[in-house]
């Protein structure tokens, strides 16, 4: 797409007030190394609006206590806030039941939980776990661990040069030995949006359970787990404008019911004696110990914030930023964009010819432009392209076209320095 074509579809829409949105994110209003900060590392972690910061603050100022344990007022308020947040997550994913939402530390913990509690007990030597070539390490390593523990085999859906999944053999990769398909919704290294609905459909037709790693999807895409019909969906709060240390696992009730607990401790039991312990009901069976209550409250506030603006509207604006940035980078000599899938979220990985991404990261930082330089916890993807690392700009709905210009200028400075 050329820049002139882009001008024909102007954005923002009249009611998308980017200035007002930016005022909600106080951290954006600062200088770094004498330049206005352009925070373009949202795929690593996003910034938090005052609405989230204040919800966490108010929780600690007014309601803080342990949950499900006290008869006193604060404990009741903390419990209500925590369970209220669970209901917001349920609504956010359009799950049927609150008890299908388990609070966890993040996507990584959720995948490990499913790997150890759902897959490991039922998998046998020679059985298969199917993932793809473009997964984050969080959706590779937990499955490798299960394979080592059980003698199962890890199978990998290949990728194409553009960074899409090569699904030509998908049907035969789904076979009677496949015990789970664990697939990312959106690639963090490349931005590729995978056709998960179709993939889930194919897996379900063969009664193969599916886990979707939604860590990079929830900030950009409205998710409906009932419509998708996946068995598990996982995400991290910190990538969707909520605090770190909180995330969620959605699991279908029947599967969660049948799974053994993952960790033992308080809250996950109904009764304990030395001869027998009765486990708690869902979702508490999987929430051993005092949870990250304030984090859950912040996650609920982040969901409220996104829904108040409208996830579709955020996504449309981010897509606009991606198209503008892609066109501008394509117009620069010596830039190679890594990941050119047709269907992409606002992630732009690139290489500057003859400049190592780590040098790029340092030089950009001096201009106030924060990007990620590295392998993005997706080393198999890097290996596919024969590179060790990329530079990656990733956009959120609070980014602006001026920040894209700052990115372009930073590229030019880098090229001059290395000329």
């Amino acid at each position: 797409m050329t820049q002139t074509e882009l001008k024909a579809v102007p954005f923002p829409e009249t009611d998308f007030d980017i200035e007002a949105i930016r005022r909600d994110f106080p951290i954006l209003n600062q200088e770094v190394n004498g330049n206005p900060l352009a925070y373009l590392d949202n795929a690593a972690s996003s910034q938090k609006p005052v609405q989230v910061i204040e919800a966490v603050d108010a929780y600690y100022r007014l309601d803080n206590a342990n949950v499900h344990r006290g008869v006193h007022r604060l404990s009741q308020r903390a419990t209500d806030a925590y369970e209220g947040a669970r209901d917001k997550v349920r609504g956010f994913l359009n799950a049927k039941l609150d008890k299908e939402i388990v609070f966890v530390r993040g996507a990584t913990e959720a995948i490990n939980l499913v790997a150890q509690s759902f897959v490991r007990p039922q998998i046998k030597p020679g059985d298969e776990i199917l993932i793809s070539h473009i997964e984050h390490h969080a959706n590779i390593v937990p499955w490798q661990m299960v394979c080592e523990q059980t003698g199962a085999k890890l199978k990998v859906i290949p990728m194409t040069e553009s960074g899409e999944l090569d699904l030509s053999d998908f049907d035969s990769l789904l076979n009677e030995r496949t015990k789970i398909l664990a697939i990312g919704h959106v690639s963090n290294a490349l931005g590729t949006i995978n056709p998960i609905k179709e993939m889930i459909g194919q897996a379900k037709a063969k009664s193969i359970p599916v886990l979707v790693d939604g860590a990079q999807a929830v900030p950009h895409i409205a998710v409906d787990v009932q419509d998708l019909d996946c068995d598990f969906y996982v995400f991290s709060g910190h990538k969707m404008f909520a605090p770190t240390g909180i995330g969620a696992l959605y699991g279908k009730q029947a599967l969660l019911e049948a799974m053994p607990p993952w960790q033992g401790g308080g809250d996950m039991i109904l009764s304990v004696s030395f001869s027998h312990t009765e486990y708690n009901t869902l979702p508490y069976k999987f929430e051993a110990g005092t949870p990250h209550i304030a984090g859950a409250v912040g996650l609920g506030a982040a969901i409220d914030y996104m829904q108040a603006i409208g996830i579709d509207k955020l996504a449309a604006y981010e897509h606009h930023l991606l198209e503008v940035a892609t066109a501008k980078l394509e117009a620069i000599d010596g830039i190679r964009i890594i990941g050119t899938a047709k269907n992409k979220a606002s992630v732009l990985s690139f290489m500057i010819e003859d400049v190592h991404p780590h040098d790029v990261g340092t030089i950009f930082d001096q201009q106030g432009v924060a990007i990620r330089a590295g392998h993005h916890c997706a080393q198999p993807v890097m290996e596919f392209y024969g590179i060790a690392a990329t530079a990656r700009a990733s956009f959120a709905f609070y980014n602006t076209e001026q920040e894209i210009d700052a990115l372009v200028n930073a590229i030019k400075t880098t090229q001059e320095l290395f000329a």
């Binding site: 190592h356 780590h358 340092t362 320095l417």
Partner: protein, 148 residues
Amino acid sequence: MSDLRDLYQQVIMDHKKNPRNFREITDANHMAHGNNPLCGDALVVYAKLKDGVIEDVSFQGSGCAISVASASLMTEILKGKTMEEAEKLYDNVHKALTGEAGGGELSGKLEVLAGVKEFPARVKCATLSWHTVHAAMDSDHDISVTTE
């Protein structure tokens, strides 16, 4: 920009573009692989020692400008030094860049590495080759080191 110019000064860029001693030593009696898992930088250092003197030292691999230039400078400086002198240099570079107590100033050719101090995230890039050569000297078989 001035800090950047300090970091990416001409000497660094020259070594990055034309790394010295960028080759294998086929009859090396010491070698080590160095990795920076954070950025995927990987290099091999070869050394040929005779009677406690570094007769030849070289490297191969890929990395950022800082790590390549630092490795290149290192091979230039270490050639002809005794093991003890090399150890002392290693110790000095390491301490000077990490700000550890007892580190002196970087002098002579190594002065150009001093700019790295202002960029804490990049110190490991500059020290990778030095850690690797240190490991190579200590061992008579091929070993691996990482910066983590």
